[in-house]
């Protein structure tokens, strides 16, 4: 299998789905200039109609994507940075999440909102959000949150073909990461199926997005000390593969949940609650969360680095529950 970057996997998913289905189109700011590199070759192949540069009107064009999807098109909206979604919250929460429901299933909205989580690089609080947990609390939206190029491509292709609105949270700390991705356009990963990234028997780490490679490093390190750590990557938060998580915890009896989001009402909080409700009798230690504290990410690099989950914080959480 060829090794490609996270960004290239996004580009390939978009390219292949646009080539397959003329109803799929891409819209967003500064797309044609390909600022983020996910549109390389698309404008040449599909033209400015289907690779559509928009003005700065997030609420307007996210809503336009909703309307276009209602009449049979399949838009992919590239919002660039996930913090900009706040300007479009009305359309996301009141139109996109609720139209199918409020109209009793008369309509479907097959669209994808793609957003990069631009944290970890001194862009300060307004540009560094990891805000997927907010949308887990909004029924009607599906959420993919891949941790490597293989999953990114397979999940995005599935999302584009899904008949419901899907939000794709793309972790900027993983952009340049390379990984093996199958060639050809039939690589799909179903939504709602977690992936066991590493098998183990002593403790489970459930890790999200950029937390996954950190968890793998922590597992590696503890492996050298004789511990066998399982790493579970939910890959999609809505739907969430509760079964794989619960089965892993039943097997190991110990769990750390790693989530780059702020701690309160994080994905880690929800996953911890599910484990407490469903696998309480298997637990041999408290459930621990490794998240970002409930303060903003500062500009100064040492502060930002200290707040985000790290391999060392995961190792020390695991050690607390392993002993």
């Amino acid at each position: 299998m060829p090794r490609i970057s996270f960004i290239e996997s996004i580009r390939q998913a978009q390219y292949e789905e646009m080539a397959r289905d003329p109803k799929v189109f891409l819209m967003g700011e500064d797309l044609v200039a390909n600022v983020f590199g996910t549109a390389t070759g698309l404008i040449e192949e599909f033209g400015a109609e289907r690779v559509r540069d928009t003005p700065l009107s997030e609420n307007g064009f996210v809503g336009a994507a909703a309307g276009a999807s209602m009449v049979g098109a399949r838009p992919i909206v590239d919002l660039t940075i996930t913090s900009f979604i706040y300007v479009a919250m009305d359309q996301v929460c009141s139109i996109i999440a609720k139209s199918k429901y409020i109209y009793g299933g008369q309509v479907k909205l097959p669209l994808v909102l793609r957003m990069c989580m631009f944290y970890g690089n001194s862009n300060a609080a307004q540009h560094s959000d990891r805000n997927y947990p907010m949308f887990m609390g909004m029924p009607g939206l599906k959420i993919i949150i891949p941790s490597n190029p293989y999953d990114m491509k397979g999940l995005l292709k599935t999302a584009i073909r899904d008949d419901d609105p899907v939000m794709s949270f793309e972790d900027g700390t993983l952009w340049s990461q390379k990984g093996e991705v199958p060639e050809g356009d039939d690589h799909f990963i179903p939504l709602g199926v977690a992936d066991i990234k590493r098998e183990g028997t002593d403790a489970t780490v459930v890790a999200i997005a950029g937390g996954v490679p950190l968890a793998l490093k922590a597992a590696e390190e503890l492996g050298k000390e004789g511990y066998s750590i399982e790493v579970v990557d939910p890959r999609t938060l809505v739907p969430l593969d509760r079964e794989t998580i619960i089965n892993s915890v039943r097997k190991t009896g110990r769990v750390v949940v790693v989530d780059p989001a702020h701690q309160s009402c994080s994905a880690a909080s929800e996953i911890s609650a599910i484990i407490a409700e469903e696998a309480f009798e298997s637990l041999r230690a408290p459930i621990l969360r490794v998240t970002t504290p409930d303060t903003h990410l500062p500009f100064f690099p040492s502060g930002e680095k200290a707040l985000l989950p790290s391999k060392d914080r995961i190792v020390s959480a695991l050690k607390k529950i392993l002993d």
């Binding site: 609420n59 309307g67 209602m70 009449v71 049979g72 009793g104």
Partner: protein
């Protein structure tokens, strides 16, 4: 420009009378406690709604608002599922999940009646964009109020429709009020139609929005332009709501006194009735239409009242294409 035929006048009268009687009976039965929630009636705005809808083809798109009952009726929807929705029945147009503010019938080209003020405008832009890209050539009519014209969504939507030259007709039902806020205090321009200039957009101002024909003619020009590839138009229709902002607010919010009195004298249904009578010299068909509408309303009420409620399990449908898994133990 097409002039209205006599048949179109009759059709307009039929649809306006349907709205009039639907709203009147719904308000009555709402006050008896038969209908839950708030109820936003379009009484007084029948000409604005029907005049605009009749300028569309059946398969054109339409986006509406929280004041949602008139729009589908104006676009010739069956009133039975609409009434059943008000009654929160399983046979309602939204299966009992939408209610008074969301009477959207997608089978007649509706793309929603949305109760977050202003939120329909970007959707209309997208429908027109999608329809253009799919080569369908449909026009999208987007209703909104004077209040909505102060929302950011309005301005973003008009700009997008203008730069992309989309076939949208933005139709402002300016009824002078946004709940208790008069348009005269809330809108920076004298006419909302003036706002089109900021987007280099064509506009139409219908000063007599109680006159079915004036609304139809203005909207028709806008629809023709849209279909000819000449892009969007902002149409402002000056009209008035005869009822309170919504039924069940418990008290009269503003005393509109003489202003209301004056407008009640300009009843759009009555104006059209007189006009047709003068044109044909008798009321024979108008009377037929009236008894037909009475019958349709009775049938709609009968349908609604005899239908069952949705089950709690239905609350888990239509969130996604797949049913929401029920691991909540709410019983």
């Amino acid at each position: 420009m097409d002039n209205l035929t006599l048949e179109q006048y009759y059709e307009g009268y039929l649809r306006m009378l349907r709205i009039r009687k639907f709203e009147t009976r719904a308000e009555e039965n709402h006050s008896k406690g038969e209908i839950p929630g708030a109820l936003h009636s379009s009484l007084g705005q029948e000409a604005a709604v029907v005049g605009a809808c009749m300028a569309l083809e059946d398969d054109d798109y339409m986006v509406g608002t929280h004041r949602s009952h008139g729009h589908p009726i104006g676009k010739n929807a069956d009133m039975k599922p609409l009434m059943a929705e008000l009654y929160a029945r399983k046979t309602g147009i939204c299966g009992g999940k939408g209610g008074s503010m969301h009477l959207a019938d997608f089978s007649i080209g509706s793309l929603g009646e949305t109760s977050i003020v202003g939120s329909g405008l970007p959707v209309a832009v997208g429908a027109a964009l999608g329809s253009n890209m799919l080569g369908e050539g449909k026009v999208t009519l987007c209703f909104f109020g004077d209040g909505a014209s102060n929302e950011g969504a309005f301005h973003e939507a008009l700009n997008l429709a203008a730069i992309w030259n989309l076939p949208v007709v933005f139709l402002c039902e300016n009824n002078g009020w946004a709940v208790t806020m008069p348009a005269s205090k809330a809108v920076s321009v004298e006419n909302i139609a003036d706002r089109a200039a900021a987007y280099s957009m064509r506009s139409e101002l219908v000063t007599d929005g109680q006159d079915f024909e004036s609304v139809y003619m203005a909207t028709n020009r806008a629809v023709d332009a849209a279909r000819a590839g000449e892009g969007p138009t902002l149409v402002e229709v000056k009209t008035y709501r005869f009822a309170e902002h919504a039924a069940n607010l418990g008290r009269m919010l503003v005393d509109r006194g003489e202003e209301l009195e004056g407008w009640l004298k300009r009843d759009p249904v009555e104006i059209l009735r007189i006009k047709i009578t003068e044109m044909v010299g008798d009321e024979i068909r108008l009377k037929e239409i009236e008894s037909r509408v009475d019958q349709e309303i009775e049938q709609a009420l009968e349908f609604a009242k005899s239908s069952g409620s949705p089950d709690v399990a239905d609350a888990f449908d239509d969130v996604y294409s797949e049913k929401v898994p029920d691991y909540y133990n709410i019983a």
